[in-house]
Point group: C2
Chain length 344, copies 2
């Protein structure tokens, strides 16, 4: 945090702060009729369907301000919500943002957070149309609601996967989890030896995956351009296992997942080795990858196989066959959701 | 909280908890095509405009669990958001709800909270269509986003008040603030003498106003039925002064407000006397009344005057005349926003 100049929040007051933070907010969508500054936002959908999703991020649970730059945090807060909208094969159009902030924060610190918010809005052509700002005695609290649009009945749910459909995933998995482990390790070293500055440059891929993820707008666009309508889709926020089990449960099907087909970045494989954790475990249970997991019909195989950024990692089976992982060694393991469980 | 049976949240897990809490969630609007259970909700607007509003409620800032029953808190969390939608002259149709909860809460306690949420949804014909549940190390955190619809361009903003328009307010003001003071006093007494149980029965009106407010759906309906289109409208969450100044600023006008016209309940007047605070101050700066403050054209005077639940409390002046309160004693005071200021 830059504290060379420090403006106290109290000097602006609640409304002054909101005004200050939103004064450069430009709306981009024709459908955004009324934005920040009134009781609510007005959005015209022109006969298209409106898609809404919401996520909450809490200090100490979802992020650690010790190694999370506020600008990245603002960016990520938006992106994790947009990822949910893309996972419906919809296009995000607006977000609302509520924050609870302690008055230990300077205005400059909050500005950094909003810089990240606006950067994500700009990049994904989304309007910030409303929100609520309040003081917090309990650390930094962030809640984002994203709204998107989709042509009538062209959205994709978790429940449409059918027997023999191919299971696909975009990008690579496990890197965000390993980036987080790395940051936690460096934090521990720093706390024990405050003079030692961590060198994270060489691990920029892993660190970027956890601190500044990107939603897969490009994959949704590519699928649309190539006339591929997934039968089911979900974004990977809690780990591959957990997400695939959601699809299986909601679609009332089983699945076979091939361990050797799970896409991983070289840096992630190397770091898994360094941390002495299984590569597959990082992908299956790590979470926060924000890739898209989806199923397509067999007839779409050739189209999908041509995209190097999509991996075909398994197929859908009958419900009574259950959900299984076929390991590199040829063993068959029952898939279990060992993703981040908030309440244990 | 009832703790006769206690189910640990950990025994359900995050997804189990969501499922448990939403299993009886029935959707009521034809436009709700897809509700809880997927990445996002799908809402068809049939050519109507979509209105969105969001509010965050934080333990220790917006509520005190020592005297706030969880069911009331759930109800209020929804209602304060619906109030924003009504203040646009729109009809709320859906909400999303995110909660951060500490694992000191039992499942039964969270169920009570959701009972209140569903009670408000049922009463106002609104669907809960999504949300996020997470653990919190920082007390109870609640974020609600409400979505509503309105016929194209029939919404009312804060910026349309014109010279000579009448300033109107629904119901009565100041009671919620006095209810809160009463609860705070009883809490203090109880903490000093744990054996003494407060008798709040005789003050049920004041207590209800702070713990279980109702949004003025009835006023919006009445205005629509009588063909009255307010020129500006806002809900009273931060106190009459603050809200009226919002209208004046956004409409670029001034105003005269008559102290003797400000509607107050007899119980509120009596309690103001008991607390030795000015009656008007409670209405002007108290907040949390969730009444509707709006302006209408002079030609609507007779229609509005016929509704006993609407008070005409002043009129709009030129901007350069400023915003003033005319006291009972005949003095003219500049209006200032002394409402709840979160950052002081």
């Amino acid at each position: 945090m830059h504290d060379t100049t420090r403006t106290e929040i109290a000097s602006l007051g609640e409304f002054g702060l909101i005004e200050h933070l939103t004064k450069n907010n430009e709306t981009k969508n024709a459908g955004t009729i009324l934005s920040i500054g009134d009781d609510a936002a007005v959005i015209d959908q022109f006969g298209r369907q409106c898609v809404v999703s919401t996520d909450m991020l809490l200090e100490g649970i979802h992020f650690d301000l010790m190694y999370t730059p506020l600008k990245h945090l603002g960016y990520k807060s938006v992106v994790v919500n947009l990822s949910d909208i893309y996972a419906m094969m919809a296009t995000p159009t607006q977000i609302t943002l509520s924050v609870g902030i302690s008055n230990k924060f300077s205005v400059e610190a909050i500005e950094e957070f909003y810089e990240g918010v606006y950067a994500a809005c700009d990049k994904y052509n989304v309007d910030l149309v409303g929100g609520d700002t309040s003081t917090s005695k309990m650390g930094f609290v962030i809640s984002v609601t994203a709204i998107g649009e989709v042509a009538p009945d062209k959205y994709v749910t978790r429940s449409g996967a059918k027997l023999n459909d191919l299971i696909c995933v975009s990008g690579d998995l496990g890197a965000a989890y390993l980036g987080l482990q790395l940051l936690e390790r460096e934090k521990k070293i720093f706390l024990e030896n405050p003079g030692v500055q961590p060198d994270l440059q060489s691990q920029s891929y892993l660190v970027k995956r956890i601190l500044k993820p990107e939603p897969r707008a490009d994959i949704v666009e590519w699928l649309q351009e190539h006339g591929i309508m997934p039968t089911a889709m979900i974004d990977v926020s809690d780990g591959l296992s957990s997400e695939l089990l959601h699809i299986c449960k909601d679609s009332e099907v089983g699945c076979i997942l091939y361990e050797d087909k799970i896409p991983m970045h070289d840096d992630a494989r190397a770091m898994a080795l360094e941390f002495k954790v299984g590569e597959a475990a990082c992908a299956l249970s790590g979470g926060e990858d924000y890739e898209l997991l989806f199923t397509v019909k067999q007839e779409d195989y050739e189209k999908v196989a041509r995209n190097n950024d999509i991996s075909i990692i398994g197929y859908i089976t009958e419900k009574n066959e259950g959900a299984h992982l076929l390991t590199k060694g040829g063993n068959k393991h029952k898939l279990s959701a060992q993703g981040w469980n908030a309440f244990v």
